[in-house]
Amino acid sequence: MKLIRMKYTKWYNIMKDGLSRNNPIVIAVLGICSSLAVTNKVENAIAMGLGVTFVVMASSATISLIRKLIPAKVRMVTYMVVISAFVISVQLFLEAYFPTIAKALGAYVGLIITNCIVMGRAEAFAVKNPVKYTLIDGFASGMGYTYVLISVSIIREALAFGTILNFRVMPDGWVNWVVMAMAPGGFFILGLFIWLIRELTHYYESPQGAEQ
């Protein structure tokens, strides 16, 4: 089988794609679970973003290396095994060096495995492209994910706790919006953020959704 190579020759085109035009969260709406659940504190968002970036890059590169050896029928399971190996290393790293963050993120570190971004990049890009492009692509997707996470978490932490990275930013009389630390706050802020980015990039969906 001849593999179709995407016509990506310039690395900055791949970068730009991941950050804006093909942003995994805002445009493709992938990887939402973790991006909502961990964005109540900026430090959690940074840890999660870097963790995902590392896993996307490492697993894409590995899959790209062995792409000619993977039989098409079992490729999903192969991705899963590769991805979970890297996620386990992220989990052990966080537990060893940042125990408080590891505790705050809890089960969500393990859930990087089922983060659709990782799987999506493996299936859509890594199996068709050589290693060096997958590294750039993984980095771009990971950064696209991280910057949305950090933006959302800055808004949420400021409103919910009156702090950013544990520094007080709100005036003394500020009453914390408790709901912002909970699930509804995440949904609303991410929804509004998606609206903002889509207006800025002029990306509109048909009202029925993509599949109809």
Partner: protein
């Protein structure tokens, strides 16, 4: 017994896995365009989550006995993939009616975070076997409830509402989910799990 009932009630309402723990969002947003598909996906999830929860518990206690809990993630994900594959073949061979109803959703479930999350949560909370079974069942029913609610709202909304351009499609689902999640906060304190 009362404890098990409390776990099921709690996971459906005030600890709803979709609207409170925000898990399983990708399929929830992608497949909730109409109620029929949403129901099919939801029922498939209930099957898979309950079965994998029950299978993963003894496996985890085996890992604990041999001191290899670091590998839990890898083992869980393989169990899940295998279960989904097995269920697909089993249904196709023996219950073709059921297979034609939700067979197409089965492959998608491997990447549904609810399945893995349930296995990771019972590890974190140190549940017994029966509690794990109740927790898996309740969580997946809670997810079914959430996806059907969202699909119902989206179906109505697609006919007669004027959504802003930038929010059309998937964007507005977040606002719907946010309002639903607010409503579910009202259940706080119904059951402790």
């Amino acid at each position: 017994m009362q404890n098990l009932f409390e776990i099921i009630l709690g996971t459906i309402l005030n600890h709803n896995i979709a609207l409170v723990y925000i898990l399983g969002m990708c399929p929830l947003i992608a497949i909730s365009t109409n109620v029929k598909n949403a129901k099919g996906m939801g029922i498939a999830v209930v099957f898979v989550v309950t079965i994998t929860g029950i299978i993963n518990w003894p496996i985890y206690s085996l890992l604990k006995a041999t001191g290899t809990t670091n590998l839990a993630l890898l083992v869980f994900i393989i169990t899940i993939a295998a279960t989904v594959q097995f269920l697909e073949l089993f249904l196709e061979r023996f219950i073709p009616k059921l297979y034609s109803a939700f067979g197409i959703y089965l492959p998608l479930i491997t990447v549904n975070c609810v399945v893995l999350a349930v296995s990771l949560f019972f590890v974190n909370r140190e549940y017994t076997f029966l509690e794990t079974a109740a927790f898996s069942f309740g969580s997946s029913v809670g997810w079914l409830l959430a996806i059907v609610l969202v699909a119902g709202i989206r179906e109505k909304m697609s006919k007669n509402s004027d959504v802003p351009r930038g929010l059309a499609g998937k964007g507005i689902v977040f606002i719907v989910l946010g309002i639903l999640a607010l409503a579910f906060i009202g259940f706080t304190g119904i059951a402790n799990i």
